[in-house]
Symmetry: C2
């Protein structure tokens, strides 16, 4: 197998996610080559990149932005982007037929040992790699946006993905400072969105039944559970919450949790009527025209949090 030295990372798709990946790899010292079918997106990339790098620098998350920006170049064709790339991160539109078309093209273009990771947040890679010669070297590498601030990456193989490919993707992600997790096989929503989905479902139900407001549910997480979960996961949390560890905790509280779950078999969450009520409450708290500004606040908070966590972990 060719080593990855002197070979670059290709990013296909230059939207927010693709740009985020370019920063992740370039920040770690990799040479990065970005391609997008839209010349407008590519043309706008350097300015957007400069903005994000300036923010990261301001929060102490990177040293000088220029050397990082200098490692990111733009390709004028897909073939140019992936030639001599050891790894391709695909971050194009979340549509099966669009991804299928791209992967058919990649099949004739990428190096013999190159791996393709898809940023797909919902579509398993088996739906767009079946029958291709590169299929054993394709998998999902699902980030949280932006990946340079939230480092988890879900690595999800299709049934035909070669195990060694999963290992190499895991090693690469670790090497560039991400926190990859190994999912053994495809599952709808992967891990992250399944966990988010079940929490939201119960939250919708409590709101629907009038137990409390959306804002109070948000407070319960942000001023309570979410604080612990931002540096430990839910299992380490309960492991430390009983004198005898996780088994002790489970024996004390398992019954309560089982009873709670048993109540919720027939709740129809995400109904239109419920969404309308929620929309009304959220828009009263945050008018739609302020959504962009609040999103910038979120991004700054995430950067400050990442800086805080880096400081804690070193």
């Amino acid at each position: 197998m060719t080593t990855s030295q002197n070979r670059h990372i290709a990013i296909v798709g230059a939207g927010l996610v693709g740009m985020g990946w370019a920063i992740v790899f370039a920040r770690a010292g990799c040479e990065v080559c970005v391609y997008d079918a839209s010349p407008e997106l590519l043309a706008g990339l350097p300015d957007k990149l400069a903005g994000s790098l300036a923010d990261l620098h301001e929060f102490g998350l990177i040293d000088a932005p220029e050397p990082i920006a200098a490692r990111i170049r733009i390709a004028t064709s897909l073939a140019e982007a992936v030639r001599n790339a050891s790894y391709v991160q695909e971050s194009i539109l979340e549509r099966v037929n669009v991804k299928q078309a791209l992967y058919r093209e990649l099949d004739g273009l990428i190096d013999d040992d190159a791996i393709v990771g898809s940023s797909s947040s919902g579509i398993p890679s088996s739906e767009f790699t079946e029958g291709l010669s590169i299929a054993p070297r394709c998998l999902v590498a699902h980030p949280v946006n932006p990946p340079y601030l939230m480092p988890v990456v879900e690595l999800v193989p299709a049934e035909w993905t070669h195990p060694e490919v999963l290992d190499r993707a895991h090693a690469l992600m670790t090497q560039v400072g991400q926190h990859p997790i190994r999912v053994s096989r495809e599952v709808q929503g992967f891990i992250l969105n399944r966990l988010q989905g079940v929490l939201l479902r119960e939250a919708w139900a409590l709101y629907d039944e009038g137990y409390c407001s959306l804002a109070d549910i948000d407070t319960t997480i942000s001023k309570g559970l979410g604080m612990r979960w931002s540096f430990m996961g839910p299992f380490e949390t309960i492991d430390l919450n009983a004198p005898g560890g996780i088994a002790d905790y489970a024996h004390r509280l398992g019954g309560l949790y089982r009873d709670i779950a048993a109540e919720r078999t027939d709740f129809a969450s995400w109904s239109d009527a419920l969404i309308q009520r929620a929309e009304y409450e959220r828009r009263a708290a945050l008018p739609l025209e302020n959504l962009g500004e609040r999103s910038k606040w979120r991004d700054r908070r995430l950067m400050a949090l990442a800086a805080h966590q880096n400081e804690q972990e070193t």
Copy 2:
């Protein structure tokens, strides 16, 4: 109604939770009087208090510890503790009969307008206040431990709790720097543990079915979802995750989440076999003898996080 000026806060139960509450109220300038039926617990309190205050001081979360400690005195009887108290925070053992006995005693002791908030994490107050003359002035005020670091407080009235009592408890908690939420009526597990419970249930299921390790589930939260949730809740998170806000998000992703929920009607979580596997994995990662040390790490991380959040919010 008597104003609360020159009246103190009584803390009944001097374990970890009671001590935490004493710090919350004294830190905010209230005079606090603590009682516990165990003389040993009371005798050990000043040292433990000094330790916690020193930690808070080290992390810049309080100025000098001494004036705070000076506002916390120890009572030698329940009657002495609650006399002239405007608010009583009960933090005794989580057993119905033990709480019932205490509330019967309190019925003859507390001031005519005093409120009693219970730290109960699972037992609704209706189970230990029924029939008492003070019942309309009792409610659950459930904290996360320690309350001086994680400020959410779930205020849960029984059906006979007077609405004005809920308002006063809400105002008091806000005044001392906590983040109270109003729960409209009793519900098993209140809000916080219901949300924790459903996330854990899905996490157990994914683990049980071999999709990934406990450690990878923890990473998914701590390096992903938990980062956002530590300063926004789940609803604000999705409100900012679609260009059109929460309704836009719900229409895009509601279907996926509904499908995920529909799969999980018959999963028996918290089974003994599953807990044993989890115990094995956790003990390999963290031997039981290191649990205490790791808990201290958690407390330091929480303090650093609280200091970071204070800085961000001012």
